[in-house]
Amino acid sequence: MKFGVVVFPGSNCDEDTVYALRNVLKQDVVKLWHKDTDLQNVDFIILPGGFSYGDYLRSGAIARFSPIMDKVIDFANNGGYVLGICNGFQILCEANLLPGTLKRNQNHNFICKNIFIKPQHNLTIFTENTGPKNVYKIPIAHAEGCYFADEKTLQKIIDNKQIVFKYCDEKGEISNQVNPNGSLKNIAGICNKNRNVFGMMPHPERACDQLLNNTDGKTILEGAINILEKMGK
């Protein structure tokens, strides 16, 4: 499969994402420069983490207007698979490809640590192969990761089963105590209604390399790759 990783000025997880896909998951990867408009026939687009344009304004608010984003939006609207990680998630919300928004963390601090997430159903490529017991240890690193949506929107994403991952403890219990940033309903990751656009605050690409002693992120990404390959991608 051929992945495209978009590079905005200020992206800083682009190299890590490329490394995880190319060196660990053995996929074809190209970088997509923000000023370009050619998606180079990729099958899957990832918007990586970082501080696009410095994120001095609302996170992702400027990146959303990059030339490449018009093409990413068309790609997504035509059913193409898109995953936004951290800053990428923020950009997808700004681009209205995903509902809701990401606010400043409840404690107003940047938080970097391992947390646990639990898939909410097996209706997406990332969770189809996961069992009910599965809990993943994945790092977070963000200052604006508090997921928020108005009541009507939130109800809609619940009804449509668009919540993909929730923050939990290591046993899979979901509670306020293990919500790192104040996200509504402990939301760590969501998808669009068509289940082809995904956003998550945790960084699966940081949990791929065996040398770092945590490969839970690899399991998540590998699950999706296996399903898409079976679909002939």
Binding site: P9, G10, N12, C13, E15, D16, Y19, A20, G49, G50, F51, Y53, G54, D55, Y56, N109, F110, I111, C112, K113, N114, P139, A141, A143, H203, E205, R206, C208, D209, L211, L212, N213, N214
Partner: protein
């Protein structure tokens, strides 16, 4: 005063120069300097740029070694050969004075500055550490400084995207008004790709790239070279403002340019801005430059001398091969950065600065720089009275504690012992996917060198209380502790960088601390064969009150890198399973001198440095290396602040294990558990390996069987000390609860 008004000695004194320095400047120029020229000399001859009060002693430190590719003072940072065609550039620098006045920007720009030092050489930064010192954590001012500094480091480093993989934070009232912020960065490059900080080639164009120049940080270097006083708040315009986004773009553009052949040399603009980089690059290439200051992109209307001295961040000076300008311009255009030609290299060996065709300054480049015409002073020094008073300390005057369990509980909650989680969780420690210590901690941070079988071990260390008690021994301990941390992680110590934070060098007692620290460092580095690759000196770390002067503890922070030649031999500090046996390697002593227990639990400040013997330390480190190499041990953790008890807790907390141990009744129990005598490491081994392990050590190194790892209970001499979970709660929550009170 206008830019070209002629000056007199009063102007010189106002700018922080000495009378004899003014005379020297007149001699160099063979005429009276104008105001711009005098300003140039005042910043370039400031302590910060010229090292005039320290260089004689710094030159005594060892700087050569078999792995050194670039030695101290030759380039912006030292460069060490790590094999596989790769080299590591690393350095530590202080940003104390700006952080004391404006903690957020002060700390942020410290991070920016040290990273620029690394990537201006063509090395991509891969890991950062920092070493912080604050006053009494209960003071509002300390909390304001701490929160600002941590946020500044975090906001800059997180956006820039290089992980912070380790560090240390120490609280003592001597830092109440003057915190220390020391930032370390290490980068990797291919051996042949180094960019030099040199200008040469008559007619080659000189470019300024990166951010536009503003009025921030004018005279910052001079500001950092005087005492902090109550009036220092008026110097706030001397504090620079950081923009990590520009720095990230500058990094990427620099990395692209390093792969072209368009560049002659490059230097970042740090202290003293354009004047510093033009003079150092010209002096290195034995040439001159003509610079047209009106061509420098500015953010606001500025006087020529302000453009010359501004310390605006995220800028670089480039000398390009004539005819290759477009290669460079296109790369900076791609990254949306300024890139303006502001002058050219000349053969004149003089720096000529023009503004609207008027020459506003004309000075010989070499006269400005360290190793050239900058003054060098021998300062007098005198042993302070406290030094011998401290040595009179006798442990027998301290009554053994009546309730050792209470001491254990309280020790864990001392701010210097408790977890610094509140601090380090605000730093991105995992970006780059090279931090191998996140899930498996070691005494030093372990950084993966992708694409090789190697890793780098990095640490920053200095127990300034030891240095204060005995600068020579204390500074040697700082170096050996750094090495011990590297060795306990499976690494081989390679080289150090130092950040020498001291008080006013004109105070003979402060200078005595400086001189003896250098002597201790020299001995330690020679014994370990770890050369000093560079660093910086920060004097004037003290607060001048109307009636008294409060110097900070002398704090020679040591940043050390080590090489782990084989990733299979990384050693970690955490207990691995219940039933494993725990051993102490090294000698025990009835020593509580300068310990956290004595200083911050019993509140007794006057005691000497803890027990230390160079030869015992060297043989201990040798043994630990052998144990790791021969796969004899499952964990290794050196005993430092808080003593054996804290060491065991730190090893247990990671995986929620406790321990059941016996102390040796030949020693006082408080000294055994909380003393900080040096050269001791705790290891754990598989219980089936006991006889093989003991045979390995026998007759070579002193060791003591302590007991075993438990599933959570803490038992000492058959007495129940509670469970690891409740200790963990105290350990993790103390700092946060003090700050949120």
């Amino acid at each position: 005063m206008s830019n070209t008004t002629l000056t007199n000695v009063t102007d010189a004194i106002d700018l922080g120069l000495l009378t004899e320095e003014y005379d020297q400047i007149c001699d160099i120029l063979n005429r009276t300097p104008n105001y711009t020229e005098l300003s140039i000399f005042s910043v370039m001859w400031s302590e910060h740029c010229s090292y005039k009060n320290s260089i004689l002693w710094l030159k005594k430190l060892p700087k050569s070694g078999k792995n050194m590719l670039v030695e101290a003072g030759e380039e912006n940072a030292g460069l060490v050969d790590i094999g596989d065609g790769l080299a590591c550039a690393f350095k530590i620098e202080s940003h104390n004075h700006p952080s004391a006045l404006e903690p957020y920007q002060g700390a942020a720009t410290g991070v920016g500055g040290i990273n620029r030092d690394i990537f201006t050489m063509g090395a991509r930064p891969i890991a950062q550490l920092n070493s912080l010192r604050f006053g009494d954590i209960k003071l509002d001012k300390t909390q304001w400084l701490l929160k600002g500094v941590v946020k500044g480091i975090g906001d800059y480093g997180n956006s820039f995207g290089i992980p912070i993989v380790g560090g240390e934070t120490f609280f003592d009232k001597s830092y109440n008004a003057n915190p220390l912020v020391n930032a370390f960065s290490a980068g990797i490059m291919h051996k042949g790709d180094m960019i030099s900080a040199i200008a040469k080639g008559n007619g080659n164009p000189v470019f300024i790239v990166g951010s536009a120049t503003g009025k921030d940080g004018i005279n910052g270097a001079a500001f950092a070279s005087k005492d902090l006083t109550q009036d220092s708040v008026n110097d706030i315009p001397s504090v620079q403002v950081g923009d990590p986004f520009q720095e990230k773009l500058l990094l990427e553009a620099t990395m692209e340019i390093s792969k072209t052949n368009a560049l002659v040399g490059m230097q970042d603009m740090g202290a003293a801005g354009i004047i510093c980089s033009t003079s150092e690059m010209s002096s290195a290439g034995k040439c001159g430059m003509k610079i047209y200051l009106d061509k420098v992109p500015t953010r606001q209307k500025m006087e020529p001398f302000e453009i010359l001295l501004s310390e605006s961040q995220e800028r670089m000076l480039l000398v390009i091969k004539k005819g290759k300008e477009n290669i460079v311009k296109n790369i900076f255009k791609k990254w949306d950065l300024n890139c303006e030609q502001i002058g050219e290299v000349t053969n004149s060996k003089r720096l000529e600065f023009y503004f609207n065709n008027e020459c506003i300054a004309n000075v010989p480049s070499e006269s400005l720089v360290l190793g050239g015409g900058a003054p060098v002073y021998e300062r007098e020094y005198k042993e302070p009275n406290y030094y011998n008073d401290y040595k009179k300390f006798n442990i027998s005057t301290i009554l053994p504690p009546s309730n050792i369990i209470k001491v254990a509980r309280e020790i864990i909650k001392l701010p210097n012992i408790a977890s610094k989680k509140w601090i380090f969780e605000q730093y991105d420690s995992m970006v780059g996917t090279i931090n191998m210590s996140t899930n498996c901690p070691s005494d030093a941070a372990i950084v993966n060198v992708k694409g090789t079988n190697k890793a780098l071990a990095m640490t920053v260390d200095c127990n300034a209380r030891y240095v204060h008690a005995d600068p020579k021994i204390g500074c040697a301990i700082a170096v050996f502790e750094a090495a011990r941390n590297i060795v306990c992680s499976g690494g081989e110590p390679m080289a150090i960088t130092n950040c020498l934070n001291f008080g006013n060098p004109y105070d003979p007692e402060v200078y005595w601390q400086f001189v003896n620290s250098i002597l201790g460092m020299k001995e330690a580095c020679e014994a370990l064969q770890t050369p000093v690759t560079g660093g910086n000196v920060s004097f004037y770390n003290q607060t001048v009150n109307p009636n008294s002067t409060e110097p900070c503890f002398p704090t020679p922070t040591i940043g050390m890198i080590g090489l782990v030649p084989d990733k299979n031999h990384i050693m970690t500090l955490d207990f691995k399973s219940s039933g494993d046996l725990i051993y102490l390697i090294g000698e025990c002593h009835d020593d509580i001198s300068s310990s956290e227990y004595l200083a911050n639990y019993l509140n007794i400040q006057s005691s000497p440095a803890p027990y230390f013997d160079v030869n015992k330390e060297l043989s201990l480190q040798k043994m630990i290396k052998l144990l790791i190499k021969n796969k004899q041990i499952k964990s290794a953790h050196d005993i430092s602040d808080g003593g054996l008890y804290v060491n065991l807790i730190e090893s247990g907390i990671v995986n929620n294990y406790g321990f059941d141990i016996f102390t040796n009744h030949e020693f006082r129990q408080d000294a055994y558990l909380f003393g900080e005598s040096q050269s001791r490491v705790v290891v754990s081994i598989d219980k089936n390996n006991q006889s093989k392990f003991e045979n390995f050590l026998k007759n070579k190194t002193p060791y003591t069987f302590l007991g075993q790892v438990t599933s959570g209970k803490i038992v000492i001499d058959d007495v129940d000390f509670g469970n690891i979970n409740s200790v963990k709660e105290d350990y993790l929550s103390t700092i946060e609860s003090i700050l949120n009170f």
